[in-house]
Symmetry: C2
Subunit: 297 residues, 2 copies
């Protein structure tokens, strides 16, 4: 059976007791390994990284939805990160020995099961999308939870599975299949949101920027910082180091320094190679030189 990664994003990043409960619930499913968890209070969001075969992962997602519903009410959820549901986004990613078809099949089976069991509308996205207009997650999520009832009334936004109205507290779920990506945020030493927004617009692919970069600008008011929040979907063309350098350069145009950066979830070894090689002036280091990457079948 193919090995997949599954990275559920939920709209709860503050109540550690609830987040622990959700993590424990998923980790208890036989055949599921919880590799990582990451919670962000400002985003009010948590990200779990699971691996396993399709059936155990499907069981873990169903258990996650069941355990989240009593605890998360999007009518009272305010965070920096866009969201459409209590269990917001659930991507399946092919790992070693698996294909994108395996991930698409897992996404569709999970979507059907979640909609049937919990009466939640489910949109399929990216490689699992049922039509071109739903491939981009940002289009599926546009309007967020607050705009979901209106969106579901439009013929072109009928859900792929489930009812044609939002779940009253949990909204909808986006379930998809995609290649491995790195969720990467760069925090800037300023509280001027327009700086982060301008940089995000400059570097993202959809505005003609760097290949495989999705980016938005967010405020982190509690910290007095702003954030360029990104997904890097084509690490071979645009590495973390390239993005870091581009953001540093753009920020300097506004006289702003990069304060720090952070990775959400796990990174493939090859994502580290470019930055390490640059720091160490290693001209010939490639992902082929990373032992663990060579040991995997």
């Amino acid at each position: 059976m193919p090995l997949l990664e599954c990275v559920p994003n939920i709209s709860e990043g503050r109540d550690l007791a609830v987040i622990d409960h959700l993590a424990t619930t998923m980790a208890a499913i036989p055949g599921v390994q919880l590799l990582d968890r990451h919670s962000d209070a400002v985003h009010h969001r948590s990200v779990f990284t699971l691996t396993g075969e399709p059936a155990p992962l499907r069981a873990a997602v169903i258990a996650l939805v069941a355990a989240t519903l009593p605890h998360v009410d999007l009518n009272h959820h305010h965070g920096a990160h866009p969201r459409i549901g209590a269990v917001d986004v659930v991507p399946f990613i092919p790992l070693t020995g698996a294909t994108m078809s395996d991930a698409v099949l897992a996404a569709r089976a999970t979507a059907a099961a979640v909609a049937a069991r919990f009466a939640i509308p489910v949109f399929l996205y990216e490689a699992a999308a049922s039509r071109a207009e739903r491939r981009a997650l940002q289009d599926v999520r546009r309007g967020q939870f607050e705009g979901l009832a209106d969106k579901l009334r439009r013929p072109e936004w009928q859900p792929d599975f489930g009812p044609q109205a939002p779940h009253p507290t949990a909204g909808a779920v986006a379930i998809g299949a995609r290649h491995l990506l790195v969720a990467y945020n760069i925090n800037l030493a300023t509280d001027r949101l327009e700086v982060a927004t301008r940089i995000a617009r400059t570097i993202r692919q959809s505005s003609g920027g760097l290949p495989g970069v999705q980016a938005i600008g967010l405020a982190l008011p509690d910290r007095g910082l702003v954030q360029v929040s990104m997904n890097l979907t084509d690490l071979d063309r645009t590495s973390m180091a390239v993005v870091f350098d581009a953001v540093t350069r753009e920020a300097a145009r506004d006289g702003v320094d990069v304060f720090e950066s952070e990775v959400v979830g796990l990174v493939p070894a090859r994502a580290l190679v470019g930055a390490a090689a640059r720091y160490l002036r290693l001209s010939e280091l490639t992902a082929r030189h990373v032992l663990e990457a060579r040991l995997l079948p």
Copy 2:
């Protein structure tokens, strides 16, 4: 059965046809995977990285010695790197699921087989050493090929296996067991060997420098550079980034720049984490965040 890494170092770094032949010979042994090879003409040395279970690795080392003997004569070998044999050093390293005892057993069985089959003296070193004075590879190799006949006449340097005289063209072999290390070289933009030698002495553990750092200074006359050639044996305490910064700082005291650095063979993902995190100002990145490292059993 335990999975081991085996990293034979041979004293031939220039004749690509010979090196290809040796690589092909080892890769053809069932159960052996040749993960990497690295040849250096100045060192006149090649390093092969193999993985497999103990028995196939033993077969690969025996095949390597058989294939090397007709092609390498140390009486005519002049390179920058110290060496005692045609097949110079053969470490066994425990990988995931294996223990140091597994590596020691593999080293001793291989040493006995090589000595018996080829009438070459074999010294066991590091974790496989038969006595404390032989643990350090530099002590085993001191005097090099040219001093080997005298060394073998001394009672305290009787070989662990094989004859009490050097093989006439192949010298001796050091076979050992050790933890994973990173072979890491930093090239300096100067031809003044004394700068590399001073820095090596300053940073190596044996002179009171950084934990887990072995270092020597070498000239690279063809390139007009000098090299601090190192083994890093305790990456958790002294990372590549720490070493790079220390060498950069020491070189600056002589007004010398770091030109580049290089890795010989493979690096574990955790070796890259420190440098990547520094470059990207990632305060919380650890080896636990590297996907491949988490996927291994």
